[in-house]
């Protein structure tokens, strides 16, 4: 039976390490038929729609089966992000210091990489509040290298 094209959207961070994404997706789909309501809880569960909650719990189950652990956070996973995008999840209270290197800002929590102009307040992937980057890092990015080289020499 051909149901037409199959399209999967997710983030690498929700796929257990060493598991091919297509294999993972098939396991998640199969697991969705089971009831994992007592398996795991996170406050974000309160804000998800029923179909999203069922899929998230199935993903957590597969993560647990593959790694032996429960995920530290699901903030980078697809369903919480969609709920956050709809404005249905309160802002995270988590804070982290980003790093800036070669025109790329890296979130201090989820390691998502962002190009200039950087997200000003929160990481768009995990919703972590980004603390001010070290002053010297920001300054070195904002000032082109050739300007530094062309700085006039001070002579007396």
């Amino acid at each position: 039976m051909n149901d037409g094209p199959l399209v999967i959207k997710a983030n690498k961070r929700e796929v257990p390490p060493d598991m091919p994404p297509t294999v993972w997706w098939e396991l998640v789909n199969n697991a969705e038929t089971q009831d994992f309501s007592l398996l795991w809880y996170d406050p974000v569960c309160e804000y998800l729609r029923p179909t999203e909650l069922r899929r998230l719990r199935a993903k957590v189950f597969i993560w647990n089966e593959a790694t032996g652990n429960y995920p530290d956070t699901v903030d980078t996973w697809w369903e919480p992000r969609m709920a956050r995008r709809r404005g249905e999840v309160p802002a995270s209270s988590r804070q982290a210091m980003p790093t800036i290197f070669e025109n790329t800002l890296t979130c201090g929590f989820c390691n998502a990489r962002w190009t200039y102009p950087y997200p000003l307040e929160r990481c768009k992937l995990c919703d972590t509040k980004l603390l001010d980057a070290p002053e010297e890092q920001v300054r070195s990015i904002q000032r082109p290298a050739r300007d530094r080289m062309a700085r006039p020499r001070v002579t007396k």
């Binding site: 094209p5 399209v7 962002w114």
Partner: protein, 156 residues
């Protein structure tokens, strides 16, 4: 007597490229003899103000792209639903199609994968691989053979 026969497949790539304000496409390659194709699109360093606006597989009647048209859709509610686009480092999209989804009656036997970003707030890096698999040698049509000709080979 037994033998292990591995499956033949073909991979086409878009090396990591900045598609901020522009698009990228794999080369047109034929699906002749292949039963399925899968596109894997992964976002790398990305700008927080941008989304992946287009992500689809297209079909054409030759490798010059004659008559190119969409095989999968990218629109609101489409196969790649643009209401929920991928937009962060590590996000991926997998699109899987079958050769019977193609308009072979009208000679469409070539595919390519297309991605695009329209906002261009900054650098948007994406990597694409397109895999064709399920190879089979041309074979005689067993049932419902055409009235003209004694042998009919399926070439697309």
């Amino acid at each position: 007597m037994s033998s292990r026969i591995s499956e033949s497949s073909v991979v086409d790539l878009i090396e990591t490229a900045d598609i901020g304000g522009t698009n990228a496409n794999t080369a047109y390659t034929t699906m002749a003899h292949y039963s399925r194709a899968r596109a894997y699109v992964e976002i790398g360093t990305w700008n927080a103000g941008d989304d992946l606006d287009e992500c689809r597989i297209q079909q054409a009647s030759d490798t010059s792209g004659t008559g190119v048209k969409d095989l999968t859709t990218d629109e609101s509610g489409g196969d790649y639903d643009t209401d929920a686009p991928v937009d962060a480092d590590g996000d991926f999209v997998i699109i899987e199609i079958r050769s019977e989804d193609m308009d072979t009656d009208n000679g469409f036997h070539v595919i390519r994968t297309r991605v695009a970003e329209g906002g261009n707030s900054g650098t948007d890096n994406v990597t694409v691989s397109e895999l064709k698999y399920g190879y089979a040698y041309p074979r005689k049509e067993l049932q419902g053979a055409a009235s003209a000709g004694s042998q009919v080979y399926v070439s697309a």
